[in-house]
């Protein structure tokens, strides 16, 4: 089993919280794991990416080769398209449709969504709205994680356990809210499949 995943977003949007949950779940299943993160200057509102590789055998490169990623998981719609060259032809884009507009040349959102919907395989979701319905917009990243969950090759209970471990220190209510958000994302992805 191998899964090569590009996580995309804008510095400050917390893509590493998604990476941490997937990483924890992968460790739970005794998989090998490498996760290349972006630190430093780009974290200041710039485009950021993380390469996350899971495998049942040892992993060599910290970077995913071009055209080799199984998934692009993005917390921002324009950023979901920035790494298309990394994605396999039959790879999935899983992205929030909530734009983060901090540049004057940001494209028209309708045109942008049409571009995403013209890709071979995608799941798009209004993660902010879904997270609000689950209790807090802060859980949007867990909604997106949920939408990606059916494609990760990980057991649902490993992901549930990982969320419990990562948010455990913040109390049971926070854990349950994040679990609810993850399940909402998962249900929506399964419907769109």
């Amino acid at each position: 089993m191998t899964k090569d995943i590009i996580l995309a977003g804008v510095g400050g949007q917390g893509i590493l919280s998604i990476a941490a949950c997937i990483g924890m779940a992968a460790l739970e299943e005794q998989l090998f794991l490498k996760q290349a993160e972006v630190h430093g200057m780009s974290q200041r509102g710039g485009a950021v990416q993380s390469h996350l590789r899971l495998s049942s055998s040892e992993i060599a490169s910290d970077l995913i080769p071009e055209g080799h990623a199984d998934l692009v998981i993005s917390v921002e719609p324009m950023e979901s398209l920035r790494y298309l060259s990394m994605l396999k032809h039959n790879g999935y884009i899983i992205t929030s449709i909530n734009p983060y507009i901090n540049i004057p040349s940001y494209p028209d959102i309708e045109v942008l969504l049409k571009e995403i919907w013209s890709q071979p395989k995608y799941i798009t979701l209004d993660a902010d709205q879904m997270a609000k319905e689950c209790g807090s917009v802060k859980a949007a990243n867990m909604v997106i994680l949920g939408a990606a969950a059916p494609f990760l090759g990980l057991k649902p209970e490993s992901i549930t356990k990982a969320i419990g471990m990562i948010f455990g220190s913040k109390g049971e209510d926070v854990v349950n809210m994040n679990l609810k958000a993850m399940h909402a994302g998962r249900d929506l992805a399964l419907k769109q499949l």
Partner: protein, 538 residues
């Protein structure tokens, strides 16, 4: 066995803690920052009373670590590649003094300049200084190498460099830890003149250093960090240094390379192994994630031997970091290409945060300078360098730590009056103080903005050595108190801030303006922690 999910930087830190570290010294710099941060956050390090505080700059860090080594304990000093330029005087001479307690210098290079002004290769410094280098291929090796580096340092009585690059530093994977080692007891060098580099002593020490080189090369042959892996296809022999080995094997099923490979993880270069590869193969491909050092040595000035492929003949790009695809292409492999990136995807460069104090400071500076010709603001290394970009477009230079003040002096000397320097509080205490002293002695007509956000911002909000000391330092250097002004960089004070800066621009001597407001990131973090503590109280 304990298995931890660690960044390369964190693996180095844990490796040092487990190897009997007594003190770590550093100045923040991407991609090295997380080494010190990990030790600072480690309960284990706290329990072992390991000294872990930020230094004013890389030179003071290097010297403090050397002092701990003198006293017989194991010390680590960490910096980004350009930090080694700052520490170079101490670093080069530490090879001549030699070490007593194990001394490990971690230099974190940044090929492709993800967060840097250049992509210099620290292996040059090791070679230049006759200091052995370890270059891990992965995070587990980084952990293990730190232990070995301390042992080697004590065995050979020499500082040892661990050279990493951004990808290794900032990639996370599972690490297996070794049994922990006790810290050394304090013990001074047998020869109390070992660290006295008077010419008569230095000449003797330098010869000793040169005499150590064959022994260090022997270590390179037997340590296990350089491996000759034979392959059936002798048309090409491959030298793969550090991380490049991963990119190489990524290109082959089951990571089995059909060519003979010399995997290099330790320097001085194991010449016997290089010769074995050269003699057995038709041509050589050299993979280095940095400058083409081995490639250039192997090729020689006249390039009259076998074909040497790499960065110099265009087989690999001359600059930038390696990737699996770049390495694969050099081996003639083809790839399934992903789709093209649609044109509507626009660049999203980093920018100052919403609510950042620097933004208000530069808006005021821009307006105060509006009546002068453009191009007179010299700046420095930090978040505020982003003010070079739209929409602010405030600054005209960013070269090295502290260069803002000294470049303003030179430009003013040339007749560019007023000249302005804009420098952060942490950069000011790192390397700006001596420049300001020059300005005072020179009576330069410059206006220095010390942008005081009470932290080292760009690297994520580490403690600033300048905290609470900026005015006193300036006064102590001889800046006239009447020309030291503290401003509150907020929109509501914009007009009075513009007026204050204008007045100082007109003053024909050294003036210092301190726009002071806490970094919005550290403020938010503090508020979150406060809220957390409060909710725990309830």
């Amino acid at each position: 066995m304990q298995r931890l999910l660690l960044l390369g930087d964190e693996a180095i830190a844990q490796g040092a803690i487990d190897a009997g570290l007594s003190g770590i010294y550093a100045y923040p710099g991407t991609p090295s920052t997380e080494i010190m941060e990990y030790v600072q956050a480690s309960k284990e390090a706290k329990a072992k009373n390991i000294r872990a505080l930020w230094s004013a700059n890389e030179k003071t860090a290097m010297e403090s670590a050397l002092g701990m080594s003198y006293a017989g304990k194991r010390a680590m000093v960490c910096m980004k590649h350009v930090g080694l330029n700052v520490a170079a005087d101490a670093f080069v001479n530490s090879a001549i003094t030699g070490a007593n307690g194990g001394l490990v210098v971690v230099a974190a290079d940044d090929p492709s300049m993800h967060s840097s002004q250049n992509e210099q290769d620290s292996r040059f410094y090791g070679r230049f200084s006759f200091i052995p280098i370890l270059e891990p291929a992965n995070q587990q090796e980084a952990y293990n190498m730190v232990r070995y580096a301390f042992d080697l340092s004590e065995k050979m009585r020499i500082p040892v460099m661990v050279r990493i690059t951004t990808r290794l530093a900032h990639s996370r994977t599972g690490i297996e830890c070794l049994e922990t080692k006790q810290q050394n007891d304090i013990h001074l060098p047998e020869n109390l003149r070992q660290f006295v580099l008077l010419p008569s002593i230095a000449r003797k020490q330098y010869r000793e250093l040169l005499n150590k080189q064959p022994l260090l090369e022997e270590e390179s042959l037997v340590s296990g960090y350089n491996n000759y892996i034979d392959g059936a296809d002798k048309s090409t022999g491959i030298i793969a240094c550090g991380l490049a080995y991963n990119y190489l094997i990524e290109n082959f099923a089951d990571h089995k390379v059909p060519f003979p490979v010399l995997r290099i993880g330790q320097y001085p270069i194991p010449v016997k192994m290089v010769n074995q590869l050269y003699e057995s193969c038709d041509k050589i491909l050299v993979l280095e994630d940095g400058y083409p050092i081995i490639e250039e040595l192997l090729k020689g000035m006249l390039d009259k031997g076998k074909t040497i492929r790499g960065r110099l003949d265009g087989s690999l790009p001359r600059d930038g970091e390696l990737t699996p695809n770049i390495v694969g292409s050099a081996l003639g492999r083809t790839f399934e290409k992903g789709a093209a990136i649609p044109e509507l995807v626009k660049n999203r460069p980093p920018k100052l945060c919403d609510g950042c104090s620097h933004n208000d400071a530069f808006l005021a500076l821009n307006e105060a300078l509006a009546t002068y010709s453009r191009g007179r603001v010299f700046s420095d290394i930090g978040c505020y360098t982003l003010s070079a970009l739209e929409p602010l477009e405030s600054i005209n230079s960013c070269v090295d730590m502290g260069a803002s003040i000294t470049m303003a002096i030179g430009a003013a000397d040339a007749g560019l009056v007023p000249a302005v320097a804009a420098i952060g509080d942490s950069t000011f205490t790192h390397s700006g103080i001596t420049g300001l002293l020059d300005a005072v002695n020179n009576q330069s007509p410059i206006t220095v903005l010390i942008l005081d956000n009470a932290t080292t911002g760009m690297t994520g909000g580490q403690a600033s050595s300048a905290y609470g000391k900026v005015e006193d330092i300036c006064k102590g250097l001889g800046v006239d108190e009447a020309h030291i002004k503290v401003l509150k960089p907020l929109h509501k004070f914009h007009d009075e801030n513009v007026q204050a800066i204008k007045e100082e621009l007109e003053y024909p001597g050294v003036s210092v303006i301190i726009p002071r407001r806490e970094c919005i990131q550290t403020l938010n973090r503090r508020m979150r922690q406060k809220a957390k503590v409060k909710s725990m109280d309830i």
